[in-house]
Structures are given as structure tokens and as C-alpha cells.
């Protein structure tokens, strides 16, 4: 509130907080489901192979490629998952009017530092390119995880743009007095 004219300069966005929490929970569920269920399936001349996202991430298996496998798995699954969990950890107490959770500040800082390394949407575009490459080689079928991942990418982007970092930092700095 402006001290001079009492105009509301910024309103507490409890509703926005709940939206972010809802989206984050949805993303956590989707990430776990999408990485376990079959993602894509190809068949050619009677031979079928279906893979999950986990298989794709861990497909680099020989020697130094193992490092790459871990990195890919991290970028596609674990970093987005960790960011969502950190967001929930930070936001739930704030939105519910509780004192911030212990280490909430460090958690939020980590989550912000990890932002560029969360690459779910890039993986989605990678899928499109890979599909076109394989399309003439074999028949491609989509597993349930494919659709989950599609929804997931949209939600991750939505979650990122809903969240006002400025107000989160503010509420962490000045915890609500009970």
C-alpha cells in the first residue's frame, strides 16, 4: 500500500500461489509417470521395440558415454523433478501462511540456479526431430508417456511464467508473523 494515498500497489497473490502449487504437483506426478511408462514404440517387419524416457536417457552405455547418460537423465528427468520439489517445499508454507520451511532460502536459490539446466522442453523438440528421422525407417507408435510428456512440457513452462520470484523472495525475507 502506498503510505501517501493508500492505493494498493501490489496484492498478495494467494490464488497465484495455489495455482503454482497445483501445477507443480501435477508436474511431479507426470514426470514420474512419464519416465516409467513406455514413451515411443517402433515396429518394422514384425519386430517391435518400445522404450521409456528413462531408456532414452540411459542409452549411452559404453565407457565414457555413461557420464553422458547420467547427464541426459539429469537434464530431462531429475533436474525438472528437483526444481518442482524445491518449489513446493518453498511455496507450500508461504501460501498456507506458515513460517517458511527450514532452509527454504537455500532451496529457492538452488532451484533458481538449476533453471537453465532443466531441459524438458528441449527434449520434446528433440523427439519431434527424431520422429521425422525414423518415420521412413519404421512405423512409430506413441505410448501413454508421450502424451504425458507433452502435457508436462506445457505445465513446466506455465509454472515458470506464473511464479513471481520477486514476491517469493519478499515473503521469504519477511515471514508473516503469526
Amino acid at each position: 500500500m502506498c503510505t501517501r494515498c493508500h492505493k494498493v500497489l501490489i496484492a498478495p497473490r494467494r490464488k497465484a500461489g495455489m495455482q503454482i502449487i497445483a501445477v507443480s504437483v501435477a508436474v511431479v506426478v507426470l514426470i514420474i509417470a512419464a519416465s516409467v511408462f513406455p514413451f515411443l514404440q517402433i515396429s518394422a517387419a514384425g519386430r517391435v521395440n518400445s522404450v521409456s524416457i528413462m531408456d532414452a536417457a540411459l542409452s549411452f552405455t559404453q565407457g565414457p558415454m555413461l557420464v553422458l547418460a547420467l547427464l541426459t537423465a539429469g537434464f530431462i528427468i531429475f533436474v525438472p523433478l528437483l526444481r518442482m520439489l524445491l518449489t513446493l517445499y518453498v511455496l507450500v508454507p508461504v501460501v498456507l501462511d506458515r513460517a517458511p520451511a527450514r532452509h527454504a532460502i537455500r532451496a529457492f536459490r538452488l532451484s533458481e540456479a538449476l533453471r537453465p539446466w532443466s531441459m524438458a522442453e528441449i527434449f520434446a523438440l528433440g523427439c519431434a526431430v527424431a520422429l521425422v528421422k525414423v518415420a521412413d525407417l519404421a512405423t512409430v507408435g506413441f505410448g501413454p508417456a508421450f502424451w504425458m510428456f507433452g502435457v508436462l512440457v506445457v505445465l513446466v513452462i506455465a509454472q515458470d511464467s506464473f511464479m513471481c520470484k520477486w514476491s517469493v523472495w519478499n515473503s521469504l525475507e519477511q515471514p508473516r508473523q503469526l
Binding site: 547427464l71 533458481e112 528441449i122 525475507e173
Partner: protein, 219 residues
Amino acid sequence: MVCMELSGTASTTVTAREAGLVACTRCTRAWPLGQQTCGRCGAALVSRDRGSLQRVWALWLVGLMCYVPANTYPMLRTQQLFQVDESTIIGGAVDLAHYGAYGIAAIILIASVVIPLGKFWAIAFLAVSVRKTGGFASHHRLLMYEVVEYIGRWSMIDIFVVAILSALVQLQGLASITPGPAAFFFALSVIFTMLSAQAFDPRMIWDVQAADDEAPDNG
């Protein structure tokens, strides 16, 4: 200095540094100069990162060194019946263009050749340009920095394509795709250039501008 306000005389911009303040680059809170860590989020506070350029160049060089084997070694090893095909990044794109998939060939060429090379050039340009005054408008330099930082992650698309293809195309005897050593180097190259871009301190751009403004305006 252009002033957007309608009232009064044009004022000059006061930088946080001149006002004796330093802003946290993580959470944007301002603190008095000399404070070591941000009291709000705990990130380290530096008004101007002196070692920034050194780190930028070191990471840039590693990224460039990884980019060379990424292009010379094969990226994909395709086995179809008894025929084994090894293709590099550029070779793969050329093959695709031969099959008539110009769109995909263009995406691959842009994502794994044009963008990485452009990124190397842009980071080098920024790092050189903050050393000398004049030349290029500061706002364009900042824009360039933001584009480089944003676009860096997208180069990983090639690695993901290789990962998907080599997990998916495993039809015993009929066709199989395995990743080549280039994938490893390419991923490293992308990661190091991302780190290099993050090490760059964009505030240096404005220091050069301040120096420019004191000299006759040529930006």
C-alpha cells in the same frame, strides 16, 4: 543520455556502484557496497566480477576444443541389415537433405552448426568488446548476451535426438543405431559454452558505456 520523463531537466543515470550499492545477482536485493554475501538469499555479492573474463575465456576455450572432435568423429552409427553407416553431424544433415527432408536438415544444421559457432563468436565478441570503448551500441550488446544465454540450452537438442534414436531403433539384425564419440564431445561443448556465458558479467557492458559517454558519443 535520453530522458523519458516529461518533467524537469534531463537527469543522468546513477549506477548502483556510484550510489554505493551492490545488487544481488540471484534475488535482486540491493545492499551497501562492501557486504560480502546477500542477507536475503545468501548468494555471494560482487559489484564487478574481476575474474569474470578469465573464466569466460577459459570455459570458452574448453568448449571450442570439444567442438572440434564433435564434428570430426561420427555422431551416429546406423546399421541396416549388413550395411554400417557412420555419419558426422554435417554428414547426417547432408544425407537428410538428399532424402528430401530439407526442413529437418535445416533444423539440425542450425541447431548444431550455426548456433554453436554463432555462440562462440558472440561470447568472444562480448568479452573483447567490454575491454574497449566505442563501436557497438551497449543495448545491442546486452541483447546479444541475453540471446546467447537463452539459446545455449537449445543446442542440447542434438544430443537428445541421438539418445532417442539410439534407444528406439534397436531392431535386432534389421536396423540399429548407436551413438558415436561425437555425441560425448558435443554435449561437453554445449555445457562448457553455457557455463562460459553464465560466467560473463553483463554489468561490464554498462561500465564501457559510462566510459563512452564521457568520451565523445560514438555508440
